[in-house]
Symmetry: C2
Subunit: 376 residues, 2 copies
């Protein structure tokens, strides 16, 4: 087993080492293209930055109508024993069944946006062995990290590699955009612990109300997280260790998915608090993975804004959502697609015979810039 | 002419008087539906509020795949003579041609979101009489409001009625969602003046850089707006008068479109700074029109955040865009469609056999609420 673990660590390090920064030439080309399109320079704001990032990931202008997939990692959490969530783990399995039936919010948004929904069981307590669920069950839920490590290091590595494998398969299927999704009762608690351990932020800043805990239960949840961190003293320089001690199977699998997406130069749209915690772990393991992250929405879960700041990501959608499943990420894929289309489908000043400052005489020099504003 | 004006004023008042608040019973029904869907109560945040508003507008659950249209009102502004925009009015006509050619950002987003783009010339300086442009040219651009009224009252009424007529035609065509768009060099200046006059905010707070004026030109633009307001002393209680004195043809037409949409119980998605100024004018004329407004994005134009607060609208998309044309509104239609689909396509707890607190025993009472959180 020790040998298996060492092999996996080595394999993971090789994969991480293969991830490179973005293609500067492609980004420069996209930036130049943005400036000759019939709109004010910079007037599409951060959508222009997104278009440039996508080109840098893809090595050329990002294609229109790229095939998209959200990977919903599902797992249970032993820490629910501590009453940090008022509700039992069984709902994780029930919601997995709902995903396969097409009735959850992620299914609705997926159908609307033509985004495939892949559901992965990396450790749901109840094994329903449902058709349509990819089973890579590392174990039947993590252990209660208030009492003992959530997982051992080998289990964490297996979950990470499962996520990397999902990205590899996606690349093989021709998927060009990935998104992170999750389902797991108790996973805001694990995410808060991982975020605190990796970022150094106070527990009180990173533990939120989840589905709506009252003040008393919120304090209890904070206490559980604080005590667990006190007990395990996770080393912030060892993200795999942090995930093992106070994380969860779906968190590790999502971190793997993000690393895998980066390996295959696939942009990965990050959903809310749990997904962003996985992104934090991925970036701590592999700083270059940060280049492949696309933000989506700002969750109502209290630690999310802080986490986005920490990752220097600015969410695009502000709807006060806190559902998880990947719902915010899938909605934001519409904006990503828009960025790709702008790059390839908008007319240039020359195409549309709109005067451009570069080709005009002194007096007309600013005509092109004038189109800088319908809002002029 | 005086008689024509009186008739139009009367007709407008009749239309305004016919606009009613939302259907409370339909809203209650939508709210109840939100609470039995397989998601935490309230976890879709403001998307749930949007779904409830849409039901209230429609008188029942809002349909999936409703036909959508953005109306792009184009006009020129005499105040460009004052050098408030570094660039000439001719670009308005050039961009109208670009719209008909399908090469502008609004065309790209319209194709992506299956939103029809209607281009209306309500007063572009150059009359190119292009196929595909609806011509209701009230006059060839407004007058320079730094020197004289932008329009006379009859012209303003005609532009308002043209907008109302566009909404009536849309309703006849089976359009179920409208969005506001515009093109008009100089129209941030007119919008700032209208916003200041109607809201009472200081000029310095409502005048922005438009396409990116430097400090000196920004101060000049503020001075032009301040002097115009000082000269005309528009009465904030007379929005038609405000539009006549310091507004613009497309602003009046958009205010009309919003009033018309409200008459036909069609939700109208409001784009950026200029569209929001038109919405302010519409709401001042007709407070009930407020119920039909759906926000879209937060523009980078400095007065927009203040204007959204004033209207008590919270924009969904934060991308720092400032392009106008209706681009933010058309992107936000994806979120509106998502709200409609959630209402009609998500499984209920009963459908999906996910335990719900109402049907469970004491111990399981909270199971349903547990599904309140993938982010639990």
């Amino acid at each position: 087993m020790m040998e298996e673990q060492q092999q996996m660590e080595q394999e993971l390090q090789n994969i991480i080492g293969s991830i490179s920064p973005l293609d500067e030439a492609a980004m420069e080309k996209a930036r130049a293209r943005m400036d000759i399109l019939t709109k004010p320079q910079g007037s599409l704001g951060r959508m222009e930055d997104l278009a440039v990032q996508l080109a840098g990931i893809n090595g050329d202008f990002f294609p229109v109508g790229a095939r998209k997939r959200v990977v919903v990692m599902a797992a249970d959490h032993g820490v629910t024993e501590e009453g940090i969530s008022a509700y039992p783990s069984e709902v994780t399995a029930q919601m997995v069944a709902n995903f396969t039936g097409g009735g959850a919010a992620i299914n609705v948004f997926g159908r609307q946006g033509e985004v495939e929904v892949e559901v992965v069981d990396v450790g749901v307590k109840v094994d329903n062995n449902l058709p349509g669920v990819k089973r890579v069950r590392v174990k039947a839920g993590s252990d209660n990290f208030r009492r003992r490590p959530a997982m051992n290091r080998l289990e964490t590595l297996k979950a990470l590699m499962a996520g990397i494998e999902c990205a590899r398969e996606a690349a093989g299927d021709g998927i060009k955009v990935l998104a992170t999704g999750e389902m797991g009762i108790g996973n805001t608690t694990a995410s808060s612990a991982v975020m605190a351990a990796l970022s150094g932020y106070e527990t009180s800043l990173v533990v939120g109300r989840g589905t709506g805990l009252d003040d008393e239960k919120l304090l209890h949840k904070q206490k559980v997280v604080s005590e667990a961190l006190e007990m395990h003293k996770p080393d912030p320089k060892d993200p795999i260790g942090v995930l093992s001690l106070v994380g969860g199977l779906e968190l590790a699998a999502l971190a793997g998915l993000i690393i895998g997406a980066s390996t295959h130069r696939i942009p990965v749209v990050i959903d809310g608090f749990i997904s962003s915690t996985a992104a934090l772990a991925a970036v701590k393991m592999c700083p270059n993975a940060r280049y492949y992250l696309v933000p989506s929405h700002l969750s109502a879960e209290s630690g999310h804004a802080l986490l986005m700041d920490y990752l220097d990501l600015q969410p695009y959608i502000h709807m006060g959502m806190r559902l998880g499943e990947g719902t915010g990420a899938v909605l934001a894929m519409h904006l990503l697609e828009a960025a790709a289309r702008v790059t390839l489908e908008m007319a240039t000043f020359e195409d549309a015979r709109v005067s451009n400052k570069d080709e005009a005489g002194e007096d007309e020099k600013e005509v092109g810039s004038e189109t800088k504003g319908a809002e002029q």
